[in-house]
């Protein structure tokens, strides 16, 4: 089942002579349960693509369908609610609420949705699976980078979203912790059948994903699946 369908998406910043086209006619799709790496150098447009897919930024042209819903056509409020219910975010700097403990940080996206109950057994399972259950009453500042990123992963999965977007989730971590986090992310994806799109500039990390999509100067230059490059 196709979870994400990006159709002819363009994104431009500025106007006239100063206009910068960050994304140019981008097209790609993701299937349910797929773990895709979006690989590119700095300034290639990978984070921009991730942000427009996540509804954090708007597109200049094109459509983004998530589970059949075109998010480019949604109004601000609808988009916010859609994002809350369907997309999980993992950021490079973890973006955890410093004033909330681990457990409450994970429960936060669900708690923002008035119509939904927090599934506490599910959160407990997530925290145990990510080996941070014993840290549940700690505050982010009291955790290591790897532990904080695990909390961010748990938070991204707490809503059981259609799509998890991870923006350089290991950018701030050492290599050992990077392996741990990627391993956990992959394992969680498998365990909960999550679709994960991860932005990275690290070829080795990208290799561990089901598929690699390359981006260069805002254009998808190709993707490799099972070791094969597709033009």
């Amino acid at each position: 089942m196709i979870v994400l369908d990006v159709k002819q998406v363009s994104k431009a910043y500025g106007e006239g002579e100063n206009q910068v086209r960050a994304l140019k006619q981008v097209d790609f799709q993701m299937e349910q349960g797929e773990f895709v790496a979006l690989l590119g150098a700095s300034g290639s447009g990978k984070s921009t693509l991730l942000n427009v897919i996540g509804g954090l930024d708007t597109v200049t042209e094109g459509n983004i369908m998530i589970r059949g819903q075109n998010i480019a056509k949604l109004r601000q409020k609808e988009l916010t609610i859609f994002r809350r219910r369907n997309i999980g975010f993992i950021f490079q700097d973890y973006s955890l609420m410093p004033v909330l403990n681990v457990y409450d940080n994970v429960a936060l996206p669900v708690s923002l949705d008035k119509g939904r109950h927090i599934d506490h057994p599910y959160i407990e399972r997530l925290l145990k699976d990510l080996k941070i259950w014993d840290k549940r009453t700690r505050f982010p500042k009291e955790l290591s980078g790897g532990q904080q990123q695990r909390v961010a992963i748990a938070r991204a999965l707490a809503n059981k979203p259609a799509l998890v977007l991870a923006d350089e989730p290991t950018g701030n971590l050492d290599s050992r912790t990077t392996n741990d986090v990627i391993g956990l992310l992959k394992a969680s994806g498998k365990q909960y059948n999550q679709t994960i799109l991860m932005v990275t500039h690290n070829e080795i990390i990208a290799q561990s994903c089901d598929r690699i999509v390359r981006i260069e100067d805002g254009v998808l230059s190709g993707s490799r699946e099972g070791g094969e490059d597709h033009a």
């Binding site: 930024d57 708690s111 549940r136």
Partner: protein, 865 residues
């Protein structure tokens, strides 16, 4: 150093909005300080000018010594003194059975020093010429026409000039100004000659006078000080702070009140305290705004430290920045403050130059302290950051298990995580409210007090007062005359309050008189060197007399009021109630008790329901010298018992001719019918009249003057001008207080808004996360409203608490140090409620405005910070 200066200038230019907020904070703080200092200075100067208008601009009055034949022989300047003006005045009383009249001469300097100007005509130059003021014209029943004839002391005179009414004198005589030779012809026949002297301003008059009398060999006996202006001129020696402290420590009780009251009179305590409070308030605001600004740039200062800038360089950079903003801020604030003060005091504005210079230095020093404190905080902040430990006070409880929404917790923690910032905002918001509410409390009380003081202490009860100014109880305004005055001028008179009077005595036995040291004539251990008034002692044997170890008798003024007058006393009730309709049937009276220098009224232990015995002379016209000392035989007096209905602090239309009037004399007030039925007094001592709106007071006087002809020592006072002037001053004072309150509120508002905006902006990263997590704009705004409400409620709670404390302190100060007649003990609820609403509305608005600014930004930008 040059680099630090460049850095400071660059910061100001780049962060011009922050610099502007600091500039506003400094300007407004200085505006407040300089404006209020100038207002208070102008107020004081106005009081001084008013006192000069009322009592004259002379400092001392001395009988002319035998060896001073010529005024020109006086040394006008010398070592330690500089005489500004010496006025010559001589007078001698005319033998007149009807009214006390004196023929007098005063030179030009005398006229200036006593506030007299020639309104019409010429000053008398030769025998047979006379100049009169309106008071004399009214009371001598002279024709208001230059050249008209009148008779004085059996001799004919021609009216050559009309003088303005002069300042208050301690003589009851009507003055008729004649030429110098006519007056001096009576030397040795009771003529009295005086010098009225005023010294140059600036230096203490007392020291100047001391040097002056030494130089001119003038003896002190018979010396008079102008008591009305002495408070401002220093014409009387002031106690040193050490002497005041020693006296205060000797007091058995009320030391603090004495200390504060005396320091206020001698050293302008209140003025200095107000300025100190404003300086602290302004300093707190400037420091807070500056700290918020520095906090916003904390990372940059950290970077500078990394690049090798030491504490010294940071200090110089911060101080330079502050000084560069402070200088224009100080000048702008001072200029605006004085401009505003000038608008409030258009006529008699005086800039307070001393405070301008002193506060410049004080603020300059404060800026250095600010920089040191901010640097210290910066250091602490960095250490905390390094430690990366959350506050141990933050609960580790998992809130999402019990609460579905976590935004409540987030709101609370966002607010309380930086407690110092939260406390700063709450305090500044509440301070603004407290100051506004308290100034409104003081303004209302001042307005109320001044209005009451005008009719009681200053005797401006009605537009016109017709009084018998003679210490002979037999001289009265017959009831028939009073009736005619009222009946013949129905149209011109709006209200009419006749008051009857007699002197009385009440016994206070078994310790009922508690202030045994109050009257110097009975004090065993007098606290000061105050001597009994020789005239009171001579005529009445003292106000208080001791009968036994615990028994005293007090001379009292006994008044008969109409129902309207009695009702007016309700404003001054300390205990009990006044129901004029019940007083006659229940044989009740009202007792006006004593007030001491601390505004206390517990000198006499008489309560409503107690019985007092009032003794008054049976035959008012009796000239027995023992009569008014209450030492004549029993048969000369009437004694009656009355029930006390109420104890009051003041009464209206007082008679100060006998034992005096005011807070140091006890009075017994009863309905007019009771005066008649108990003591047989049906005639009046004074008629108090308010003119109808469409009539001028002089028209009323013209109407009543013929009806009063032939009444001995009956004089007419026109107070309408004074009342109008006082009301104008009252309105000025009220606007002064409200103006202060509003400026204070605006300053604290500016600071609170700046701090709250900073707090929201410093949370943009967290808000970015929340938005990324999917909080809707509506919910986000709800969260901000909640935070705004929390701020508003916390500020309101803090404001109410501080208001309760401040109100209690202010009530004490107003009642016991400034000695207001009536001090409301209630917290001003309405202003409090308004301020609570304003505070809350401001907090919510600031939060929403700052939050909207964040919402306009892209979530990604917010997450990047």
């Amino acid at each position: 150093m040059r680099n630090c200066f460049k850095l400071a200038v660059s910061y100001i230019r780049y962060y011009w909005k922050q610099a502007f907020i600091l500039f506003l904070g400094i300007s407004m703080s200085v505006l407040l300080l300089s404006g209020i200092a100038s207002l208070m200075h102008s107020e004081r100067m106005t009081d001084y000018e008013n006192a000069k208008d009322e009592y004259g601009s002379w400092d001392y009055r001395v009988p002319i010594p035998e060896n001073h034949k010529e005024k020109n022989s006086i040394a006008m300047a010398g070592d330690g003194f500089q005489v500004k003006r010496v006025g010559y005045f001589c007078s001698y009383p005319l033998a007149n059975p009807q009214k006390e009249i004196a023929l007098c001469y005063g030179d030009g300097d005398y006229l200036k020093l006593t506030g007299r100007t020639l309104l019409e005509g010429e000053y008398p130059k030769k025998a047979g010429e006379v100049a009169l003021d309106y008071y004399a014209l009214h009371n001598l029943e002279a024709e208001y026409k230059l050249g008209s004839k009148l008779e004085l002391g059996g001799k004919p005179y021609r009216l050559t000039g009309v003088l303005s009414e002069g300042v208050k004198t301690d003589s009851n005589a009507i003055l008729a100004f004649v030429d110098q030779a006519t007056c001096q012809d009576n030397q040795g026949k009771g003529m009295e000659a005086l010098y009225y002297i005023s010294f140059s301003e600036g230096k203490d008059r007392y020291r100047q006078f001391d040097a002056f009398v030494k130089k001119n060999h003038i003896n002190h006996p018979g010396l008079d000080v102008n008591d009305g202006t002495a408070l401002y001129t220093g014409a009387e020696p002031k106690e040193t702070i050490g002497q005041i402290l020693r006296t205060a420590l000797r007091l058995p009780e009320g030391r603090l009140i004495y200390l504060m009251g005396t320091l206020n009179n001698n050293n302008d305590l209140l003025y200095h305290v107000v300025l100190a409070v404003l300086f602290i308030f302004g300093g707190f605001m400037i420091f807070s705004i500056f700290q918020v600004i520095v906090e916003r740039r904390m990372s940059q200062y950290g970077m500078l430290e990394v690049l090798g800038a030491g504490q010294k360089e940071l200090f110089i950079s911060l101080l330079t920045e502050l000084i560069l903003i402070f200088l224009p801020g100080y000048l702008t604030g001072s200029a605006l403050g004085n401009l505003l003060a000038r608008l409030l005091y258009p006529g008699r504005f005086r800039a307070d130059v001393h405070t301008f210079a002193f506060s410049f230095l004080a603020f300059g020093l404060f800026l250095v302290v600010c920089c040191v404190l901010v640097l210290r905080n910066m250091k602490k902040y960095t250490q905390v950051e390094k430690m990366k430990q959350p506050s141990s006070r933050v609960s580790r409880k998992i809130r999402s298990r019990k609460r579905r929404g976590l935004t409540w917790i987030l709101s609370k923690r966002f607010l309380l995580e930086k407690r110092s910032c939260f406390i700063r905002v709450v305090i500044s918001l509440s301070l603004g409210g407290v100051l506004l509410v308290c100034t409104s409390y003081v303004a209302d009380n001042t307005k109320e007090n001044n209005a009451h003081a005008m009719v009681t202490d200053q005797g401006l009860y009605t537009d016109i007062s017709v009084t018998i100014e003679d210490d002979d109880l037999g001289k009265v305004i017959p009831a028939k005359v009073a009736e005619n005055v009222c009946a013949n001028n129905k149209k011109e008179i709006e209200s009419f309050f006749p008051i009857s009077y007699t002197l009385g005595e009440i016994p206070l036995k078994d310790g009922k008189f508690q202030w045994t040291e109050f009257y110097p004539e009975v004090a065993e251990n007098p606290m000061s060197d105050e001597k009994p008034d020789p005239e009171i002692m001579k005529k009445y044997g003292g106000i208080a007399t001791k009968q036994g170890s615990n028994d005293f008798k007090l001379k009292v003024n006994v008044y008969g009021y109409g129902a309207a007058g009695l009702s007016e006393l309700s404003d001054y009730v300390l205990e009990g109630t006044i129901k004029p309709e019940n007083m006659v049937s229940k044989n009740q009276v009202v007792l006006k008790t004593l007030m001491d220098g601390g505004g206390h009224y517990d000198g006499i232990d008489i309560k409503p329901g107690d019985t007092i015995t009032v003794k008054v002379p049976k035959e008012p016209g009796d000239r027995d010298p023992k009569l008014l000392k209450f030492q004549a035989g029993k048969e000369h007096y009437v004694e009656k018992d009355f029930e006390v209905a109420a104890v009051v602090s003041r009464c209206v239309g007082e008679n100060d001719v006998f034992i005096g009037a005011g807070p140091s004399v006890v009075s017994v007030i009863m309905p007019q019918e009771m005066m008649e039925s108990n003591f047989g007094i049906s005639d009046y001592n004074s008629l108090n009249i308010n003119a109808a709106k469409s009539f001028d007071s002089s028209q009323v006087i013209d109407g009543i003057r013929p009806l009063l002809s032939g009444l001995r020592q009956c004089v007419i006072h026109d107070y309408s001008g004074s009342i109008e002037k006082k009301n104008e001053i009252l309105a000025q004072k009220a606007s002064f207080f409200y103006g202060i309150g509003i400026i204070l509120f605006l300053i604290s508002l500016l600071h609170a808004m700046n701090s709250m905006k900073h707090q929201i902006q410093s949370r943009q990263y967290e808000f970015g996360i929340l938005r990324a997590m999917g909080i809707t704009e509506q919910r986000f705004r709800g969260m901000l409203i909640r935070q705004g409400l929390f701020y508003g409620l916390a500020a309101s709670a803090c404001m109410i608490l501080l208001t309760i404390i401040c109100q209690a302190v202010l009530a004490e100060i107003l009642q016991h140090i400034i000695r207001y007649i009536i001090v409301s003990q209630n917290i001003p609820l309405f202003p409090c409620l308004i301020m609570m609403c304003v505070n809350t509305a401001v907090c919510v608005t600031v939060m929403l405005v700052a939050g909207n600014g964040l919402l306009r930004r892209n979530v990604v930008e917010e997450l990047k910070g």
